[in-house]
Symmetry: none
DNA sequence: CATGAATGAGGCTTCATTCAT
DNA sequence: GATGAATGAAGCCTCATTCAT
């Protein structure tokens, strides 16, 4: 009697997660290129060959990771959209981004690590380009909707700032004064009452 | 008659530069890990073994490159210091940074590429950490000197923004609306004169 | 109620045949070495592990195939023996060989493919050697019985020709002018009646 | 002072030959697929990696070998062309083929070994097809020129016989009664004087 | 009987580095 | 200073086979 379909699926999913978790850890710690398939399997506590029952290549493991990261972006967008004023929007954006980053710090470390050497993964350059355009047009639209003037350039500035903050947060999660930074950035988008 | 000492030195320096230029080009295009010593020598038009007369290892080539980059930072600091008001300071800082980046785009691309995977080069992590602290304290001191309140956090925000802008500029040097971005960022530091 | 013995045997035999047929197809198309057990099971539409209930190893599958081929030889011998004159004998030999080849083309393709690399299968070399001697002595005896002079050498020549024809027939089953070739070869063994 | 060009070329050619000789030996003994790159280098007495300074892949080694074999064919053709009568032609053909085969036995063993599994090497199938057509049309033309009737079919028969003989000769170089076989085959093309 | 997850040896290839000339 | 042949460790991946269910 064969193993039931359900039992198999369960095992499969569990092992897949184990592998992905090991991969995030190692990629974050040593970088993607420097992490060998052997090290990956070893960290996950499985045999070398097993990895290939789950992913067709080392690159595929990375892609699976990055795909998870994309979900974080959408969550953050959704959270930001709730903000009524521009300042609220920015505050919610940064806050949510910070939450996602802390929750998936290793994954984002990997992601930032590849941001500037997209050549190591086939097609990553295109994905990144699309992602940047997506983010920029989202920011521009939301700022404009909240009556921020010069929305296109403001979106660029906000984008740069978010990226910069994210990277710092990944690099020094404990020490980074995120709350104050959020306050400061958000305050810039507050409408000056006195006028 | 043997070559004179001076002539020898000249040849040596020229070859060294040729090698470094080839290295920047290739590291920027393909990434450091993906660039082989063989490709490097070939791009520079010299024999494989000759490279080892100039650099003891592949890593040493990278270090030489990154050292050149450090000089850019100091130049930018010097330029920024000339700004009288905080807005002037920020404007000069971004302007100069932009100039250096455009002039040495490939080198900065390499530099950014390694920012988040410092493990690939021994000791790079420490260097980066030091460099970040150096920049942060410079920004904080200069902002404070120009009476910007909450200078520590403002320095963090400015740092993040500068990093973000620099990275975008490296990635899309043609399309990036640098001037407008500088205007927008600088305007935030303008003292609202009484209002 | 458990399956009856007979029903079980039937299933078993059917599965075995399915596997063998898949094996012939794949071995012929991609070669024995290049065909993985996985591909074999997949082509046969059975689970990977099931194959090992029927054959103890990949090699065993091949051996089962080759054994089937041996039967073809005996059938051809029997057919040839019916020929009264030497020409009849040769004609019947070639005709029957052609029939068997067309019927089991893939199997023969595999067989020829291993003829010159018997090392890939333990003991194949010995089997082939025995088979060759068997064929040669059969040919020699039959030619001699039909009063062909110099039977030993004639057997060698006939053997070489049959092998060559067989291989061509396997390679281009449609285009090969088998009938005319048979006529031509057979005519050489026709007794020149007095002339 | 660099090693002179000439000295380098000499070393290169010598090593290349060493590698090719080792390759023929091993491919003939164990088959192409079963011979590992490591075994190849070891048999040649050089380091594993060196092989890749001379050939871009294992397949390229094989191709270099097979190319050498093609030359043998042309030599044999040339020799055969000298024969005045059809019998002379066939005799010269077989004789020369035998000579080449004995001289390069291992190479031909490899060649025959791949004849029926051309899938292992990219493009080999096409090369073989072309080669067969080349041989067949050569044989047909030469037979026709010597007034052999039904030249097309006769070429097919002769081709099959030559292939069969070649393969036997490769497999049992000592024991094969080549001379008598040649006599027998050639005699078939002798014009029957009495008529 | 049947399933497919799991194992680990071994294959091909790349690469930084050394060294004789 | 300059050349490139030579080295061998290490990387990614495939595959026959085993075994718990």
């Amino acid at each position: 009697m064969p193993r039931t379909q359900a039992a198999n699926d369960e095992v499969r999913e569990a092992t897949r997660q184990t592998l992905l978790e090991a991969a995030v850890r190692l990629f974050a710690r040593q970088g993607y290129s420097a992490t060998s398939i052997r090290a990956l399997a070893s960290e996950a506590g499985v045999a070398l060959g097993l990895l290939y029952h789950y992913f067709p290549s080392k690159e595929a493991v990375l892609e699976a990771l990055l795909a998870d990261g994309m979900a974080d972006v959408e969550v953050t967008f959704e959270a930001a959209r709730q903000g009524v004023t521009a300042a609220d929007f920015v505050r919610a954006l940064l806050w949510s981004a910070g939450e996602r980053l802390k929750a998936h710090r290793s994954a984002w470390q990997v992601s930032y690590g590849l941001r500037h050497q997209p050549q190591v993964v086939e097609g990553l350059a295109g994905t990144l380009e699309k992602s940047r355009k997506h983010m920029l047009s989202f920011l521009e639209a939301e700022l404009r909707r909240r009556d921020v003037p010069n929305a296109r350039i403001e979106a660029e500035v906000l984008f740069a700032t978010v990226e910069g903050i994210g990277q710092q947060l990944v690099q020094r999660p404990r020490a980074y004064p995120l709350e104050e930074v959020i306050d400061t950035v958000a305050s810039r988008y507050a409408r000056r009452r006195t006028r």
